[in-house]
Symmetry: C2
Subunit: 308 residues, 2 copies
């Protein structure tokens, strides 16, 4: 295969632009009745998210496309992939809105803006989170891939965001683990479920959208599992080392509430080393794909090199 | 067509039994980690719901089956239909859990039991509602019908439970309308969205599961729209005329909070007459189907004749 130069900044710019355009089209306008909830949904969805998960879905799709299609389609994104990314971003945003509620993490600041319940009240914030989950599935049911692929993607995403080793299960473990001493086992279980599962499924579902076979799905799953854990370790390190203004959310909250984090157990330097080791292990899973996976590698590098 | 005797009590018994068995199989056991959320989900799902929506889905499917299949399949339910009913019941239950939260209706009693947040705390109740929505879509993605039918059903259900003339939109209108004088237009809009849309889509999706064509869907939609409004009018009447013990929820709350209800505008007797008129109009939509629709009619009759 010919070496393909990959521009990380260009990949990020394209993913943000395509995802934002899809979200703009898919979310009801603020003028649509009832206006308050549409305002609340848009407030949180357009609060400056980095669109990491859509970016991963897109690069996984680009990789599988390059592997299975003719040389002409190399470096191309499959038609309509931005709707998958937008749906995943809606699910991510709904989980943040509910996580920030007074009954859960009680956070006032998110991405440098007031959280949804601070801006719109608790009732609307609860319903806006609900509605983003609903709209995500409505979006997934209208994707431009085959019904077979869409149903498979919906099943995988629902599982990854559910209670059994999925996102909601991770939130419960995290809540119940507060103020008890974290162990490396408990932290790994929480990270794997709370943030890891959605990152992994972003990658896998992007691949399925583009026609991944069973072997592809296995490699993407291994890559996504390692990359997801590395992402969360860096997130925990940033929470301890950056100030709130730079992070766009309340820094140091993990320590303040005795949250189970990687650096709390292993220290900051060892955590950074673990994240780099995990990314290298993730890369090993993609080895046989050579240059076709360069975009996916570039995004994984960004996950651990980012500063906020 | 030969007249087919229909036993309303038998239809209800079968629907409750099949739905409960499916829910028992689909919900994670309380022993599954994290146990608290699975306990909370089961607490609300198995609180003695009447399974009206699954019953409507089943009878719509039986009707379409009878119309389009050979005489041998008459009176048969399509294979796996109970999973569709169970998914709809999960969605209904999630909306009740969130509606009962302190930030929304702040209700302590539901179906004669403590509401989810009273029994398990607010954080777990919020997440249990979220998880029931997630599990509903996971269930819909694994149904035993074709991928084409499943995707169509998921799109219809997401739309009917969303913000634009769907369930969540109705909850927002209801919240925002409290303590302002209801009009017949505002009450109709709230009822149509808040409870009507899910009842309508229960009927339509049951039909789609069994292979309804476009004309069938139009008839089921008209039937479902009228029957859904009749159901809610009777619900409002029961709230005003029954005591809490009989209803299994706090009675008289609508009046106490100036909720937009039908009897508040038209009075109780006129409301009862309107409900009966609507059911007769609903029946007119099914006229060409003759006896094949008898089960569906029996359930619609039950919607307005029930006493709790």
């Amino acid at each position: 295969m010919v070496a393909m130069p990959v521009d990380q900044a260009e990949i990020r710019r394209e993913a943000v632009e395509r995802t934002d355009r899809a979200l703009e089209r898919l979310l009801p306008p603020v003028t649509q009745v009832p206006a308050s909830i549409h305002g609340a949904m848009r407030h949180s969805v357009f609060a400056g998210g980095k669109r990491l998960r859509p970016m991963l879905a897109m690069e996984a799709a680009r990789t599988i496309n390059a592997l299975h299609s003719g040389p002409g389609s190399k470096n191309q994104l499959p038609d309509g992939i931005e709707d998958l990314g937008a749906a995943i971003e809606m699910l991510h945003t709904y989980s943040l809105i509910h996580d920030d509620l007074p009954a859960l993490d009680n956070d006032d600041l998110r991405r440098g803006k007031p959280t949804c319940h601070v801006a719109f009240g608790e009732a609307i914030a609860i319903l806006a989170g609900d509605a983003l989950q609903t709209l995500a599935y409505q979006t997934l049911a209208s994707m431009r891939c085959s019904a077979q692929r869409a149903i498979k993607i919906i099943g995988l995403i629902a599982e990854a965001t559910g209670t059994v080793e999925g996102m909601i299960g991770g939130q419960v473990l995290d809540l119940e683990g507060e103020h008890t001493k974290p162990t490396s086992e408990s932290v790994t279980a929480i990270h794997r479920a709370k943030t890891g599962a959605l990152i992994r499924v972003s990658i896998v579902s992007g691949g399925v959208y583009a026609g991944a076979n069973d072997d592809d799905v296995r490699r993407l799953t291994e890559f996504g599992t390692k990359a997801g854990l590395a992402f969360q370790i860096i997130d925990d390190v940033l929470d301890m080392t950056q100030d709130s203004e730079h992070l766009g959310k309340t820094a140091g909250k993990d320590v303040a509430s005795d949250k189970a984090t990687w650096p709390a157990i292993f220290g900051i330097e060892a955590s950074r080393r673990d994240a780099i080791r995990l990314i290298n292990e993730a890369f090993a899973a993609l080895e046989p794909w050579g240059d076709a996976a360069e975009g996916l590698r570039a995004v994984a590098r960004y996950l651990v090199e980012r500063t906020h």
